[in-house]
Symmetry: C2
Subunit: 413 residues, 2 copies
């Protein structure tokens, strides 16, 4: 599972792509013998991503994603096993089987090259970019709620037989990528750490947060849950940068962080990113009416995605052995998911403001004072979200927390 | 992991033991070329167990334990992969490394034969037998508390690095044996099931328990935790039949149910079996003073084993990165273990009264009316133990529940 690099492995380049494409029979129906062009577009921190197309007909196209054996952002000094490419391909296979309409289609996985060939979603944009521009996606909540209910419900003990579930847990052991999350989401933001990347203007708020022992205990509980609760095959990185959208479609990509973890981690990731957008538009959208309208879209999306999740999860409950299941169990289970989602959402928000890997929604705000306002608001949404999570009994309670929060920056306002 | 049976596998017999023993160089220091005798003593439901000794010097002896590829009690119609023998040998290796003074020593594991050769504990008896006879083991609580603290603490995320922990979770995936627990401890006792084995006299109490939806929900939560919480390498079957004792020593055997699960499952198993003994002496010991004295020993053992567990767990906390750990986390963690232990203890008590596999403490009571009194009391300890577990803040609270319980049989007393 974590052996040596395949001897046939070599990182592709724009120059070597055409020969590689010719070598794969699976791609022949798309490319035939026509002249091919490619460009490297990976903007993430870990992988090579190539768009490949027929020069004379750019609609005949695929994406090739190849794992590098180190963290691209840092270089060979930070090695990272390319086994994550197998995890991603196998997770995509499962997600596609359970929810094809919202999962990117894979043509093949090349285990020698740690490479996945998949549909080029050239009619979609990364959702984060759309949200930054204030674009609404009216079908998003319906789609992502469905995606989560199907992929989480059907990989849990509620559906899988005892043996399959446990063998799947073993197959999706993903230590290196989980470790990144353990450090960047659950550890470093809540202490002094070299990796943190907040800007000086919000330091007083960050230091106060890091000195809040009650908050730190809540975070520790969420971290423990992340590290020990093998509830379902989670995507593991379901932020708005892992979701491709347009007005009709919502397609999930990039599950290389997938592992058996708590369902609330995925649900919380989506909610966190909608709330981060909410915070960012405190400054990104100056017109009060426009801002209110876009925020209504965001908070309604939070409410709706949970409602859809619950609705689409119902078939899972319907097939559970009801002789065995006590009456209150389903309601209690879903309530715990809601509260978990709130806790994980909070961690994911705090890390995006304080930690190493930010999000463009907030870090992309050019004016540092405006950026500080948005960052301050994001933290002020996150803290009560995790501290009060056990009092939440419906999704509206999370939205109320967000709506009631105000930025505390500037400090002497 | 769950492949075909090794081609070299053959179940040993008393007749084939001598040749097998000669074939193992590891046993030569014990047996030399001397004449060997063997007897099959397996009284469990799953395996062959041979005692082997030198005819002229019975102190030169070993135990050979060999897994059968089916449930011995039922026959070949209930197949059970002998992979559990590997799990047991590997768990014993870890337990011996962490706590040699309380783990049976293994000479070797023969992967071809699914056979473990270990020390013959011929100076010890099975603890359950001692407790049935009213024998006290003053060092037991100290020993078993130490065993649990070392083996659970040092296989958890508190000690293991992120990668080792996750690879260990995969190595100890143990689906078939976990399934037995899921069914027999957490499912069948709380519903009508062919496997249940309670006697008619206590049926009214069993039916009332099975109709108690609140209780069933509590059990479902414990089952979910058992199935999803990969907290530490648990023994998985730590009842008093898996513990060999004398007045000086306490030695744990038989971890074939080992897997990464909740620590409270082991702690609860020990507590459950002390409380089952407590219930059984309602009728086993008629003399009130003697009974009170033995029960004091049992309840003091429950209190002490927890106190020792906490004390021996402290070194684990001491080596945790304290910059990272919020102040209240340790206390909260230990509190949750206590409450988990109460919940799991309750399930293990109820299953021993109602389910397929009973314990001699209670089922061995010959007179059915006396047996019913003890069974009734055991259930009346178990039910508040699980229902009230979240209110328990110290071990004494569990003992108070046991001490306050009374048998409800006979019904019209």
């Amino acid at each position: 599972m974590f052996g040596d690099l395949s001897p046939h492995y070599r990182p592709l380049t724009v120059e070597t792509i055409p020969a590689y494409v010719r070598s794969r029979a699976e791609l022949r129906p798309i490319f035939g013998d026509d002249e091919i062009e490619a460009v490297e577009v990976g903007d993430g921190n870990l992988n090579l991503v190539f768009k490949v197309w027929v020069k004379s007909d750019p609609n005949r196209t695929v994406v090739l994603k190849q794992a590098l054996p180190y963290v691209r952002l840092v270089g060979e000094s930070w090695p990272l096993p390319p086994d994550r490419a197998r995890i991603e391909a196998q997770a995509l296979e499962i997600e596609y089987r359970l929810c094809p309409q919202h999962t990117v289609k894979v043509f093949f996985y090349d285990a020698q090259m740690y490479l996945t060939a998949m549909v080029n979603l050239n009619q979609h944009i990364i959702m984060r970019k759309g949200l930054i521009d204030g674009i609404t996606y009216p079908l998003f909540a319906e789609h992502i709620g469905t995606f989560m209910a199907r992929t989480l419900g059907h990989t849990s003990d509620l559906v899988l037989d005892y043996r399959t579930k446990k063998l799947e847990v073993a197959r999706f052991i993903n230590p290196e990528l989980c470790k990144i999350t353990e450090d960047l989401v659950f550890t470093e933001p809540y202490r002094r750490a070299d990796g943190n990347r907040y800007h000086a203007e919000i330091e007083p708020q960050v230091l106060a947060l890091q000195a809040d022992e009650e908050l730190r205990e809540h975070v520790a509980l969420m971290k423990e849950k992340f590290m020990t609760q093998a509830q379902a095959l989670v995507h593991g990185d379901l932020h708005t940068g892992s979701i491709m959208v347009n007005q009709q479609e919502t397609i999930v990509i990039d599950p290389e962080f997938a592992f058996y973890g708590p369902m609330g981690f995925d649900i919380g990731a989506v909610i966190a990113n909608l709330f981060l957008s909410y915070a960012s538009h405190e400054v990104r959208t100056q017109d009060p009416e426009k801002r209110a309208a876009f925020r209504r879209y965001l908070t309604n999306s939070v409410i709706q995605l949970w409602q859809v999740f619950v609705r689409e999860f119902q078939p899972v409950w319907d097939q559970v052995d009801h002789i065995n299941m006590p009456k209150g169990y389903q309601q209690h289970y879903m309530l715990r998911l809601l509260q978990d989602a709130a806790g994980f959402a909070a961690c994911k928000m705090m890390r995006r403001v304080i930690g190493l890997a930010g999000v463009a929604d907030i870090r992309g705000i050019e004016d540092v004072h405006e950026r500080s306002v948005a960052a301050s608001l994001a933290l002020n949404i996150a803290v009560p979200l995790i501290k009060q999570r056990e009092s939440f009994t419906q999704i509206e309670h999370l939205v109320e927390v967000a709506a009631a929060a105000r930025p505390t920056y500037p400090w002497n306002g």
